[in-house]
């Protein structure tokens, strides 16, 4: 680790306040990955799961062992905060409802993946993406007999949401890990990546979170709430080192990696997405424009740019369905190529 980027990354992690619950997160990750890479996993095996073949060479003896291994995706979701004070009252945030990450997680689980959902506390969670914003208060009522019942017209959606969520968690197919700050997010992403190494090419990183580009290093941050009353405020922010390169090269070099590029200016979007793909060695970059992102995105790969549209003939379809389908197909090819 002696390139300028690596020293920036080292200085970022050195400066970050340590995770409060690192040991508990590490334990959960270990368990989740063990469960989903063993034959005795709780979840049933889907026919979509690809058999991974590992060839062990030992002097003159070649043994090929075949076993099934569930694909595991780490889906990141929601925006990261950048605190402006150590005892944080104010922070910079990135706009993200978390809808894309939550909906994509549902589709990936349906297609046989186990998902580590690394999400911003309070943003949309899997199986809630089709419900109203304050689902809890809007979807239920208490009958005269003092029973809680689901209001129409939410009945079917609510049942499906609760049932599918319970099934995914109980089946060991969904691990939800919440974060708030950029410091928590990047430390947790590193932990997940390193823990997922054993999955080889069966691991996918689906990096839909809106990650801050700028931050204030912990050590140069004001301790207390910045006082108002003395005129305008100037804030100097450093660039967050680009962790995508180090994720690809060091943390999880065998994983299939997809990043997301959001712009408000459609003119520069595709070019920036392609630059990011090349610069960080991503297998695909999903380009989305703020206003049209729920209707269409463009998947940028080394084979070209593939537009993906929401199915407009169905009112309850989303763009995440064809998007995840396309990326899962690409992942299948990637696993196949890695094994030959």
């Amino acid at each position: 680790m002696d390139s300028p980027l690596n020293s920036e990354i080292e200085s970022f992690f050195d400066s970050a306040p340590p995770l409060n619950d690192r040991a508990a997160i590490s334990e959960k990750l270990k368990e989740f990955i063990a469960l989903n890479s063993s034959e005795s996993g709780k979840g049933s095996r889907s026919p979509l799961l690809i058999i991974a073949k590992y060839t062990i060479s030992y002097i003159h003896c070649h043994v090929t062992i075949s076993f099934t291994i569930r694909r595991v995706a780490c889906v990141t979701s929601g925006g990261t905060t950048v605190p402006l004070e150590q005892r944080c009252v104010r922070y910079i945030d990135n706009f993200s409802s978390g809808h894309r990450g939550a909906a994509s997680t549902e589709h990936l689980i349906k297609m046989g993946y186990a998902v580590i959902f690394l999400y911003r506390r309070g943003t949309c969670e899997p199986y809630c993406s089709s419900l109203p914003d304050d689902a809890f208060l809007e979807c239920f009522e208490v009958t005269k007999e003092s029973a809680v019942q689901v209001c129409q017209p939410y009945s079917e959606a609510v049942k499906r949401a609760i049932r599918d969520h319970h099934a995914a968690v109980a089946g060991g197919l969904l691990l939800k890990l919440p974060f708030t700050t950029i410091f928590e997010y990047l430390q947790m992403l590193q932990m997940i990546a390193v823990s997922s190494r054993s999955l080889g090419p069966c691991s996918m990183f689906y990096l839909a979170a809106a990650v801050s580009d700028f931050y204030v290093p912990w050590k140069s941050m004001a301790e207390h709430k910045i006082q108002s009353g003395s005129g305008p405020l100037d804030i100097q922010l450093l660039q967050v080192p680009k962790m995508l390169s180090v994720l690809r090269k060091e943390w999880a070099p065998m994983a299939f990696c997809i990043s997301f590029k959001l712009e408000t200016d459609a003119e520069i979007l595709l070019e920036k997405a392609d630059m990011a793909r090349k610069k960080y060695g991503m297998h695909a970059v999903v380009a989305n424009e703020l206003l049209s992102r729920k209707e269409q995105v463009v998947v940028v790969t080394n084979n070209g740019k593939i537009p993906v549209y929401r199915d407009k003939t169905s009112s309850d379809s989303d763009v995440e369905k064809p998007l995840t389908k396309l990326l899962v197909d690409r992942h299948s090819v990637y696993i196949k190529d890695s094994n030959t």
Copy 2:
């Protein structure tokens, strides 16, 4: 409006993007206030409601008309965002879960108030404050017979939450108005204050929202997402003009006004709270310190400083219960004094 403060305020409002749904909000407010200031209001009258007496003097004839009028509180809750781009991807935010505003609203309604709950979209809502963060997914399960049922141990809390929320909304005692940005918040606060004028001293402003002190004027804001990649970022922010003075003096001069002061440094808290009380003419300022704010606060009035503690002998009590009780008592005295 020609003082330096007033010209700052004018320039803030001139610069703000107009509210999308101003007409609909105005209609809702008018209806809610009419409902709660007429004898034929839907809600039942609580014995706690004070009879307001207005004396009409007309030359030599003095007529005293007595009629009941429900007290109406505007409770503000959650943090306001300050966009850094017009097509907003990044913004500055203030830490606030909205728990204090939500819990206080519940207590005020219980004590006979109607509440206009002006809250940050996505933060805690009244009747949800005692439930887990992702209440929707944690509190329910689907039975084998495909019915939705409440999991133990949430059964009673969930029923109470749903029932009380429905009763408050159906009874015309709770109007929820969500905001996101500082621009929306201050425009909506002004609308509420001006609409509440007819309630005279029966109107209360309980300003628990964490309002930004600094902002970027709309007209000098970047249109598109600020690009990273060219080194550190400098942000210059102007001070948000202090609207508390204008609320007291112009928007709602008869209302009983309580503001909140949050600091991380206990050393300066009480002094700053008392300065704010004097400067903005507040009837009370609630001083709270970031780490201890759920256990104790200090109510600063012109009669001195009154500490308020959570009742530690009861596990489900909160500091908002004794706090709202104290402030309602003060409001009663204020109404009485205003009528004599």
